[in-house]
Symmetry: C2
Subunit: 337 residues, 2 copies
């Protein structure tokens, strides 16, 4: 089965390029609100599940033990832009846990933020592992290991207790068995397990509604939601789509992008979760589909300003990025109750 | 009709992302050697037809008039990297035609070459229109207008004689009627007409073989082929796929990338042309398909070195970029005679 076209890019009178994919909007009880494509086929969620991967950081007591707060929780869920503020928060998280950046195993890349990257080049500075977009997640993994007296070296290995705990949490939230057959290695070297979009969407619905969770887990999910929506700048960065969406709808939605065209979100008012994956991995399409879904449930986000971030904020000046007829049809079927 | 998957990206044991598209390999007489997908549906060729767009630059006598040579012809066909050498050649082309960079209408972007862009940031220099990857094509358009006494202002307009001549040449080589209904505006602001991949591939087969062309046009096509293959560094830039392919197979192939996943090529020994378009516009997939086609007709390119540029030279370290079964089947049907 081929997934349907979701997004089309026009040039002149023609469709120049098109992006196929799968999308699911789900209630916490697993009931499908709407879907397009094969929502039962596993996809690697990549960084889109960082808010779920952060749960053991809270559940083990590491956050309490080291006196950490919403900023550190938000950066633990981040694919951040590597601005000075991100670096400061991650470095502080490590320091409070008695660790240094030398323990980070995420690797090094230039800051996503182009202005920050330029400033560093101008000053002759080289990026460090703190600038890696996943450094906050890695710092939280390290702090959790340190809190429990586990070795910090090798924390990225699938058999390390840090990753075993994360796998168990993901299994509980998604209801999926995450075996080595569906395990891949993420860009930042930690394991990533393939999960069907329908199960990912349900996990985010449970995350935002607390449905079916223990009171402690529901409370920790709420703390993560509040930390991310209170610090949308820390979860991504200035001008980034995730940050703009959460700033436009304060306290209402948590959204998280992942590599290769994955996108997940949780809508607080309706208690819904959504997950999508663009077959070809294009971010321009995953963000466009996410924008359409969010606008369907939060039309006020578009009406708030003519240059609504949820529409055409990266639009081409020689054509349009538009929803396909299949995506329009799927959006039209979205009903909350 | 949906085009077939051509390229798959694996992570662990799973296919994480996939790219569908259309590809056609054609003889100069129009005979199809092999194809996958709908090769009769028009696609915007974007920069992949720059070697064809350069023909009026030679045919009008502008090259002779201003004493220009292979370097200027190669840069006229380029989507270049904006290195100092590219800038020097384009500026020289303009100067020999009595023009300055102020006449360029292509716009401004940072050099594609990351090291050059960094050096400019370090020195506090801002990019100019000379650094735009299309500046050579624009300089050739301007020189042609200057040679014929036409206004240089507005040379990018579809009704300007410069563009009318290019449209006529494209119609003659492709056999297509290029009306305003299939006209779009390219990234550098000149018109671009949608053309079926089968017709594009045939145009490149005629270009490289001279079949069906007047002796003068066949000679000008040969001069363009020789200029590009003699200066592969000018057509793209250091480390770029097009440049590496033409360096690996000197004098044997002309290849040219275009935006949104288009790729065209001409194979001298077999007299074949090929054209392809990735539906979603991904360059990683267009280059991978091109590499497979070129390797099919020039296996020596792979045997030349273990780190063959035609295979995995941008490979992921956590998976593979591989041909789909449909692409493998199409490659297996490729026969020259």
């Amino acid at each position: 089965m081929r997934n349907p076209i979701l997004i089309e890019l026009t040039r002149g009178a023609l469709v120049e390029s098109a992006h196929a994919g799968v999308v699911a909007v789900v209630r916490a009880d697993g009931g499908l609100v709407a879907a397009a494509g094969d929502a039962a086929a596993p996809v690697f969620p990549r960084s889109a599940i960082k808010p779920l991967q952060a749960l053991p950081f809270l559940e083990t007591g590491a956050v309490e033990r080291f006196g950490l707060g919403p900023a550190e929780i938000a950066v633990a869920c981040a694919s951040h832009s590597g601005t000075p503020r991100h670096v400061t928060v991650v470095e502080g998280l490590l320091a409070k846990a008695g660790l240094t950046p030398a323990a980070l195993g995420c690797g090094v890349h230039e800051p996503f933020d182009a202005a920050v990257a330029r400033d560093m080049i101008r000053r002759g500075e080289r990026p460090t592992s703190l600038h890696h977009n996943c450094s906050g997640k890695h710092a939280a993994m390290l702090a959790t290991a340190a809190h429990l007296g586990e070795p910090t070296d090798g924390y990225w290995h699938p058999d390390h207790p840090v990753q075993v705990r994360i796998r168990r949490v993901l299994e509980e939230l998604t209801g999926c068995s995450l075996t080595s057959e569906v395990c891949g290695i993420d860009g930042c070297s930690v394991p990533n397990w393939a999960i069907p979009p329908a199960a990912l969407a349900r996990a985010f619905a449970r995350f935002v509604s607390g449905t079916g969770l223990t009171p402690q887990r529901a409370g920790d999910c709420a703390r993560i939601f509040e930390a991310c929506t209170a610090h949308p700048d820390l979860v991504a960065g200035p001008g980034r789509f995730d940050t703009l969406v959460m700033q436009r709808l304060p306290g209402k939605v948590l959204v998280k992008t992942g590599a290769e065209g994955v996108y997940c979100g949780a809508l607080r008012e309706t208690g819904l979760g959504f997950a999508l994956k663009i077959d070809d991995g294009a971010k321009r399409a995953s963000e466009a589909v996410a924008a359409h879904i969010i606008a369907r449930f939060h039309p006020e986000a578009q009406q708030a300003a003519p240059d609504a971030v949820l529409r055409n904020w990266r639009g081409l000046d020689v054509g349009r990025v538009r929803a396909s007829l299949d995506l329009e049809a799927m959006l039209a079927t979205c009903r909350v109750h």
